[in-house]
C-alpha cells in the first residue's frame, strides 16, 4: 500500500500519465476483489467501506418494491438501511433468530413475492452464525423476490461464488480480511439499476460518485490474495475456538448461538455476574483484546443488540456477552494466554 500510495495519489479518472498509472492500480485491485467473489470486475462498485456497500446494495434491490424482509440480528449498516426504506413507505418484515437459529428458507418464502426485497447477512458479526443464503436465494428466485446479502463477515471465512449463489447484490469490506478500513465493494447483478447513495460525478459507471481511493483499493486487492488461505484455515481455527470454549465453559462461560452452524473465527460468550464492558476492560488490563460486540463512538458499551434479539427472555446474556475473535494468525499459545487471563479475571467475581 505504501508503494501504491506513491503512485495512487493521482486521480484515476485523469487522462495524464500519473492518472493512468493510478487507474491501472485501481483496476488491478478491482480484478483481485472480483476474483475472490468469482464475479466479473465490471459488476463491482468500489466503495468507501462495508457500510456504504451495504447501503448501496440494499437500495438497489429494494428500489420500487413494496416490502422488505430482513432479520433481527443484522449489522447496523443493514438494519438502519432497512429502517430508512421502511420510513420511505415500504412494509418491513423482521424475522426472529431465536437462540441463534436462522430462519429456514421455507419460513422466509412465506413472506416473498415479486414485490419484495430481502436484505440478510451471510455470517453474523457477533456470533459467527452462518445463514443459509444459497437456500434463501433459491426461494427468492422462485417467488420473484430480490436478494441482497451482507457478505462482509463471510469473506475470508466461506468460499464465495456470486455466479452460483443466485443473489442480486452482495457487499464485502477490506477491513474484514486484513485490508484497510476505508475500502469496500458491492457486487450487483448485471442489469439491476443502482442508484448512488450520494450525489456527484459519474465515477464507477455512475453508481458511486467521488474520486476512487486507489491506494486503499490496492490494499483491498492485496488482502484478497490471502482470502483463499484464510478460508482453508477455517477448520484449524474452529478447532482452537472449540478448545477455548470448552475450557471457558469450565469457568462458567455459556456459549451463545452454539445451536446452529458458525464460522470458526467467532466465539460469543456470556458470563453471568459480569457486565460485558467490565469484563472486556479487565481482560484488556491483562493484555487480552476481546469486545462486547457493540461500541459507540463515545467508547460506551451497550448490551449487545444481537444477543438481546437472540435471547429476548435471558437478559443476562446480552448484558454479560463478550465476543472473542480468532484469525489465522491465532496460535495455540495465544489461546493458552487468553485462558490464563480469563482464569485470573474470573476469579475476582466474588469478594
Amino acid at each position: 500500500m505504501q508503494e501504491a500510495a506513491a503512485i495512487a495519489w493521482a486521480n484515476p479518472s485523469s487522462t495524464h500519465a500519473a492518472g493512468r498509472a493510478s487507474r491501472r492500480l485501481l483496476e488491478e485491485a478491482r480484478e483481485s476483489v472480483a476474483k475472490v467473489l468469482r464475479a466479473s470486475p465490471a459488476d463491482l462498485v468500489l466503495t468507501g467501506g462495508g457500510t456504504e456497500a451495504c447501503n448501496l446494495g440494499i437500495r438497489a434491490v429494494s428500489a420500487g418494491r413494496r416490502r422488505i424482509v430482513s432479520t433481527a440480528v443484522e449489522h447496523p449498516a443493514v438494519a438502519k438501511s432497512v429502517e430508512r426504506i421502511e420510513r420511505q413507505g415500504a412494509e418491513a418484515v423482521i424475522l426472529a433468530v431465536p437462540r441463534g437459529r436462522p430462519p429456514s428458507a421455507e419460513a422466509l418464502a412465506a413472506h416473498l413475492d415479486s414485490d419484495t426485497a430481502v436484505a440478510v447477512q451471510w455470517v453474523n458479526h457477533e456470533t459467527g452464525t452462518i445463514f443459509p443464503v444459497a437456500a434463501y436465494a433459491r426461494a427468492c428466485r422462485a417467488h420473484g423476490a430480490r436478494l441482497f446479502i451482507d457478505g462482509t463477515q463471510a469473506l475470508g471465512k466461506l468460499p464465495i461464488d456470486v455466479e452460483t449463489l443466485g443473489a442480486d447484490a452482495l457487499a464485502v469490506a477490506a477491513q474484514k480480511v486484513g485490508g484497510p478500513a476505508g475500502a469496500g465493494a458491492c457486487w450487483v447483478r448485471r442489469g439491476l439499476d443502482v442508484e448512488p447513495v450520494f450525489d456527484g460525478g459519474s465515477q464507477e459507471r455512475g453508481r458511486r460518485p467521488g474520486t476512487p481511493d486507489s491506494a486503499s483499493m490496492v490494499g483491498f486487492g492485496a488482502a484478497c490474495l490471502l482470502v483463499a488461505r484464510r478460508v482453508e484455515a477455517q477448520p484449524a481455527i474452529a478447532a482452537l475456538r472449540d478448545r477455548l470454549e470448552s475450557s471457558l465453559s469450565e469457568l462458567g462461560a455459556v456459549t451463545n448461538a452454539a445451536e446452529a452452524p458458525r464460522v470458526g473465527t467467532a466465539s460469543n460468550l456470556s458470563l453471568d455476574g459480569w457486565e460485558g464492558a467490565l469484563l472486556v476492560a479487565a481482560l484488556d488490563l491483562e493484555g487480552v483484546c476481546v469486545s462486547t460486540g457493540a461500541a459507540c463512538s463515545s467508547g460506551l458499551h451497550e448490551p449487545s443488540a444481537v444477543i438481546r434479539a437472540m435471547y429476548p427472555d435471558e437478559q443476562w446474556r446480552a448484558r454479560s456477552a463478550v465476543r472473542i475473535s480468532l484469525g489465522f494468525e491465532t496460535s495455540p499459545s495465544d489461546i493458552e494466554t487468553a485462558l490464563h487471563a480469563f482464569q485470573r479475571v474470573l476469579a475476582r467475581k466474588e469478594s
Binding site: E275, A277, A281, L285, S298, G299, L300
Partner: protein, 353 residues
C-alpha cells in the same frame, strides 16, 4: 492500609480528577482511568459540562496524555434509580435534596469498589478535596480538605470504613490554585477548563425545568403568607427551596422569603426573613464515620454545603440525631445534609427531616 498497587482513578473529565490522576502518575503508580457514564444530557445541555460526551472525551484525552488505559462504564440505570428518581420525588415532596451524597454513597464509590476488585486494583483515587487519617483506634477519619473554599468532605459523610479503606484523595492537601498550577505543570489537557458549580445532571441549574422534563406532572398552587392569605399563584412546589427570595413573582413590597413548602396542598408559605431562623433540627438516616457516639456531645454542624458550621449539642437517637444550636440558624432546609464536624474531622451526618 494495604500497599497501594494498581489504582483506579475516577475521572469525570473535569480539572480536579484529571490533576489527581496526573499527580498519582507522577509518583509512579500504576493507574487505570474510569469514567462513569451516569446520565445522558439532553438537548442544549449537551454542550454543557458534566454528563456531556465532551467530558468523557476530556477524560480520555487526559488518560492518553498520561499513557494510562481509560474505560467508560455505564451506570445510567443505577444513577436514575438511586439518584435522579429520589431527587425528583424529594422536590415534589417539598424538600431540597442533595444528590451528591447519595451518588457518592450508593452509586459512584460503591460501584467503583466493585470495579476496582474486578480490575485487581487495590485503591480508588478521586478528585475530591478531602483528607483521610488513621486514628489510634485503627479506624480511618474523614477530614476537611486544606482549601476551605473547595472542601468537599460535606458530601462524603455517608461512606463506610470499607470504602474509605480503598480511597485516595490526592488533592486533599492542596489549594485549588495549586491544583491548577499542577495541571499546567503536568500538561493536563483541560487544565484551564471552567469549573462546574451546578449538579452534573442539571448543568444549567434550572431544576424546575429538569423535573418537568422527567415527565413528572407539576401541580400549580398558591403562594400564601403565614395567615393563609393568598398572595400569588405558582407553577409547582419543585421550583422553591426554603429561604429563597428571588423568583417568587410577588412584585413590589418588602423582601419576602420561602418559609415552608406544603406539597399536599401545593402551597408555598412566604414571610419575613426573621421567621427563617430555627435553633434545632432532626436528622434521619445518619451515618457515623467511626461508629455511633454513645452519648450526646458538642460539635459544629453544617446544614448546607456553603454553611460555615455552627456550635451545637448533638444527641444520637435510633437511626438519626437531634441538633440544638447555640445560635438559631437561617433556613434549615429539609432534604439537605446536616454534617457534624469536630474541628477538621467529619464525625458523621444525616438528612434534615
Amino acid at each position: 492500609m494495604t500497599e497501594m498497587k494498581r489504582v483506579l482513578v475516577a475521572m469525570s473529565g473535569g480539572v480536579d480528577s484529571s490533576v489527581a490522576a496526573a499527580l498519582l502518575h507522577e509518583t509512579g503508580h500504576e493507574l487505570v482511568g474510569v469514567t462513569l457514564h451516569l446520565w445522558d444530557a439532553d438537548g442544549a445541555q449537551q454542550v454543557g459540562r458534566c454528563c456531556a460526551p465532551e467530558d468523557r472525551d476530556d477524560a480520555r484525552r487526559t488518560c492518553e496524555h498520561l499513557g494510562i488505559p481509560h474505560y467508560v462504564l455505564d451506570e445510567r440505570e443505577a444513577f436514575r434509580k438511586h439518584v435522579v428518581d429520589p431527587f425528583v420525588a424529594d422536590y415534589q415532596a417539598g424538600r431540597t435534596p442533595i444528590p451528591c451524597v447519595s451518588c457518592n454513597r450508593t452509586v459512584k464509590l460503591t460501584y467503583l469498589a466493585d470495579v476496582a476488585r474486578r480490575f485487581d486494583a487495590t485503591h480508588i483515587a478521586t478528585g475530591h478535596y478531602a483528607r483521610l487519617a488513621r486514628a489510634g483506634d485503627g479506624h480511618l477519619r474523614l477530614l476537611r480538605g486544606i482549601d476551605d473554599e473547595k472542601d468537599q468532605s460535606y458530601f462524603l459523610f455517608g461512606l463506610p470504613q470499607s470504602t474509605l479503606e480503598r480511597l485516595v484523595f490526592p488533592l486533599g492537601e492542596l489549594r485549588k490554585s495549586e491544583v491548577r498550577e499542577a495541571g499546567r505543570r503536568l500538561g493536563v489537557p483541560n487544565a484551564s477548563k471552567p469549573e462546574s458549580q451546578e449538579l452534573c445532571f442539571v448543568p444549567d441549574g434550572r431544576i424546575g425545568d429538569f423535573i418537568e422534563r422527567q415527565g413528572t406532572p407539576t401541580t400549580p398552587g398558591n403562594m400564601v403568607d403565614s395567615r393563609g392569605e393568598v398572595l400569588a399563584v405558582h407553577e409547582g412546589v419543585a421550583n422553591f427551596t426554603r429561604g429563597q427570595r428571588r423568583g417568587l413573582g410577588l412584585g413590589g413590597g418588602g423582601a419576602r422569603y420561602v418559609l415552608r413548602i406544603l406539597p399536599d396542598r401545593a402551597e408555598v408559605v412566604v414571610g419575613e426573613e426573621s421567621e427563617l431562623y430555627d435553633a434545632q433540627l432532626r436528622a434521619t438516616d445518619a451515618h457515623w464515620i467511626a461508629g455511633r457516639p454513645a452519648e450526646p456531645f458538642e460539635a459544629e454542624v453544617r446544614i448546607r454545603y456553603r454553611h460555615r458550621g455552627a456550635r451545637a449539642d448533638i444527641t444520637p437517637n435510633g437511626t438519626g440525631f437531634d441538633v440544638r444550636f447555640e445560635e438559631p440558624q437561617r433556613a434549615i432546609t429539609p432534604g439537605q445534609a446536616a454534617v457534624v464536624y469536630r474541628g477538621d474531622e467529619v464525625v458523621g451526618g444525616g438528612f434534615i427531616a
